[in-house]
Amino acid sequence: MTDQAGGSTSTNFLPDSLKGHEAKVAYVAIITLGVLLSFVWSGATRWPQEWVLPLEGWITDGINWLKREAHIFGVQVKDITRAIGATLKLPIKWAEYLLFRGMKPLGLGPLPWVAVTAGVALLGHWIGGIRLAMLCLLSFLYLSFFHLWKDSMQTMAVVLVAVPLAALIGLGLGIWVTRSKRAAKIISPIFDLMQATPHMAYLAPVAAFFAAGPVTALIATVVFAMPPMARCTILGLQTVPSDILESGKMSGCTQRQLLWKVALPSAKRTLMLGLNQVVMQTLAMVVIASIAGQPGLGHKLLYSLQQLRIGLAIEQGIAITLLAIVLDRLTQGFAYREVDHFAATKSFLQRNWHWIAFIAILIVSYVAAEYFREVKILARKQTFSFAREMNDGIREFNKIAYPFLNPFKEWMTTYVLLNIRDFFLWLPWPVFVGTVALAAWRLGKAPVLWLCLALMASFIVTGFWVETMQTTYLVLISGIFCVLIGVPIGIWCSRSERVANITMSVCDTLQTFPSFIYLIPAIMLFNVSIFSNVIAIIPYATVPAIRYTYLGLKGISPVTIEAAKMNGATPSQSLWKVELPIAVPEIMLGINQTIMMALAMTAITALIGSTDLGQEVVRAISTQNYGRGILCGFFIAALGIIADRLIQAWASERKKQLGFNE
């Protein structure tokens, strides 16, 4: 013992650390005290009505005041938002003119579907050869022939505007962060928080200031889709080899030339990866933005789901999925495009035939569209729909499957889901807050503790405890299922190359689907119920658990495993005693992402009915209850941030113990 040990010099009122058994005692004490408190004070179960902080009303009033009366430098806020709205409306309007409304100012019709389809197929060919061309062609034919063209184009119009906007803003912010230490200090933590914030949370505040429709969708989408681009820009610029930068300087680059001609092009791969993510996030968000009045595929799908028209929902879901896959393959293919060394030796025609063919088709189809309507867009009677047949099929299937599925569903619901839900609803908040706070303090010391306390306080004192717990329990249950399914699959992948290949490509595909899609099979099999919410979450949120488990186990140095073998460990001993413990921090990061995705998806399941925060957001947006929408969106984000901080802190602590460098 050193002489300092006697009197702790810490000015903190908390002890510096707790030993394992002390911590256990502390947890038990907190829980007991909390439960006892709830017996003597009913406010520990339900925050007393008269103490509720009327934040909700204040926010609504504040926004109304901002919208009606506030001035900034003599300009009415109302006029500013109106101006922004009008400015953003313009490009969307043009995209809509181009894709499906027709360019009235120019006296031209919209791009005929024949031309768009051919154009996308040609683009696919240019980027990825005949296979990608076929994928593009068939996907767009599907859109036309299943009478989803106009809705698809309506969705694409926002995507078309949002992607460049989000990409440019992300690029700009990313560049700024790499150039200015101060910007890095301000922006990086904001991005960290944004990453833990689900889609839904973005919609409410935007919807408060802008009218329901494409502009709201656009703004929310851009904000949501921009961070990955910024992150990739930062990563890309920071990893440009110093040799390349210095060779640029020695070539006499000015600072600006160095950025635009050397650094950014060298980081092209990473930037393209960012663009790919922007595109995928954009599509996912535009679809969800249907709850804020964005028409298009998402809206139609939402409607079909709410009407339980499953067949139609499947057709619409397939359309969204196909769009996602096409956009994904196109942007990825573009990043890895092979260059043609001998382009210079080819004739003009050979080099530019894609363009020439497209322009030719465009002109021909425009002219033909004047005479044949079906070139412009197919009429309903020229298209197919198997919705009715599918409905029948599903009904038949459900008839057969009902005896098996229903008892399962009933059992899960009554014995597992409802019990856990009731437990969470019964749980006195001091118990919850106390345990989380103790964990936060043990894992991340004061900063994490205060953050978690502040966030938890926010949903208690505003009277949203019950809704928050509704969300929490769903996330927790789904998260547990995801981990129980995902981690073993990840382990299996690490044992077999073949399984890994198949699983990883399935995971890749699952990740390209916009989250909205996962509602369809859940509803199809289990109707509208809590259980189908869980079922919708699982395939979406299991992916990271699988992936990180696999990568964590794969990443262990072979020497370590061989050493275990030489110490006489059986394969299962090696797995349990050596590999898994080493991979645990990595697996935890996967679980962290799983929980983030489960949270995002839980909010989305609100669209098919639930009583949680997501539902509150949806309802608040449609009833223009801004305060409620913004608060509940914020609470969803707050839950994400609490979980994220706790798990990250734990994983980095554990990594330090294992001696890994971060």
């Binding site: 080899p241 040799d243 390349i244 210095e246 060779s247 640029g248 300087k249 020695m250 070539s251 006499g252 680059c253 000015t254 030339q257 001609k261 050397v262 092009p265 060298s266 092209k268 260059v339 060394h341 001998f342 382009a343 210079a344």
Partner: protein, 339 residues
């Protein structure tokens, strides 16, 4: 003596939190202990030397001895913490951003250890890059770049991308690029270290061929004493940021300043470094009829001297007898005290 191209005096480069304050605290000359005590790194310490017009100056030293940092100071990729530098008599440290860019665009060329090629540009575009920065018009710079590509023997691969070339080919591109602007002074930072030995030898020959053609002023960093002796006019040896000795290879071998230099010189092929003049003795006694030139390297005359029973006479350029050299002297160089 020819003109001085670039020179530095009392140059220091210190890395750490606040190098200038650190230097001031120690009156501009911190000791090893000061560095250690405060956790600063003295990458370059009090280095002074000149590079003459048309000379090849090699800088050698162990990894981390500060070679790259010296070059990076001379090119102002790093600014020295203290000291002065001149380029053709002009104060190099006084040059502002604009003048510096101009200097790099027209007067300096540099080859990097890891090539530093731009991955998104093909061979021709990489070579043309500095010309593009100069603002040379497109057709002219393509023509010039093509010329350079041919010069380094990469004709026919103009449209390849760096990722599609071997290491040796990539470094040829690096060389072509650095030469495209016709620099007055050429910096090469371990240009061949990343290459395997066979290609390295080939590139060294290539370098000698180019230098014969172009006759540049060169500062060249290497780890390899043999490479240095093969190419250098003078060699500077660095240790812990200090320039321990800068001289001809022969002087480094014969009169090493300390053990460190001696260790570097030890494994060098002495017979190719030491000249007859350096080991000859005053002529006395009976000499063989054949003579050897004073300036010849030992290796070139060894066979001749070893074959003859009597010591050979040494003659200077004018043919005048200036000394003699015996078998014993030769074998001392060849096999002598270099265990």
């Amino acid at each position: 003596m020819s003109d001085i191209k670039i020179s530095c005096r009392n140059m220091w480069k210190v890395f750490g939190a606040n190098p200038h304050a650190f230097m001031n605290r120690h009156n501009g000359a911190p000791t090893d202990e000061d560095f250690k005590a405060e956790g600063y790194i003295g990458a370059v310490r009090d280095v002074s030397f000149d590079v003459h017009e048309g000379e090849i100056l090699m800088i050698m030293g162990l990894s981390g001895s500060g070679k790259s940092t010296v070059i990076r100071c001379l090119t102002r990729l790093n600014d020295p913490t203290s000291g002065t530098m001149t380029y053709e008599g002009r104060d190099l440290l006084a040059a502002n951003e604009e003048e510096l860019i101009d200097l790099r665009r027209h007067n300096m060329g540099m080859v990097f250890q890891n090539f530093g090629l731009l991955p998104h540009r093909n061979v021709l575009e990489n070579v043309a890059f500095p010309l593009e920065m100069q603002g040379m018009e497109n057709s002219k710079r393509i023509a010039r770049a093509k010329e350079m590509v041919d010069l380094v023997g990469l004709g026919g691969r103009e449209t390849y991308f760096p990722g599609e070339l071997s290491g040796g080919q990539q470094q040829r591109v690096g060389i072509a690029r650095s030469l495209a602007v016709e620099p007055d002074i050429w910096f090469l930072d371990e240009p061949f270290s990343a290459l395997d030995p066979l290609i390295r030898a080939e590139m060294q020959d290539e370098f000698i061929r180019l230098q014969k053609l172009l006759n540049k002023t060169i500062v060249f960093i290497t780890h390899d004493f043999e490479e240095a002796t093969k190419l250098a006019d003078r060699i500077g040896i660095m240790k812990d940021g200090k320039m321990v000795q800068m001289d001809t290879a022969e002087q480094l071998v014969l009169n090493p300043a300390d053990d460190y230099v001696a260790k570097f010189a030890k494994n060098a092929p002495h017979e190719r470094i030491i000249s007859v003049g350096a080991v000859m003795k005053p002529a006395k006694g009976k000499l063989a009829t054949s003579t050897v030139p004073k300036s010849a390297k030992i290796g070139d005359v060894a066979a001749q001297v070893l074959d003859s029973d009597l010591p050979c006479a040494v003659v200077d350029d004018a043919g005048k007898k200036v000394g003699m050299i015996s078998r014993k002297m030769i074998s001392e160089v060849l096999f002598g005290e270099r265990a």
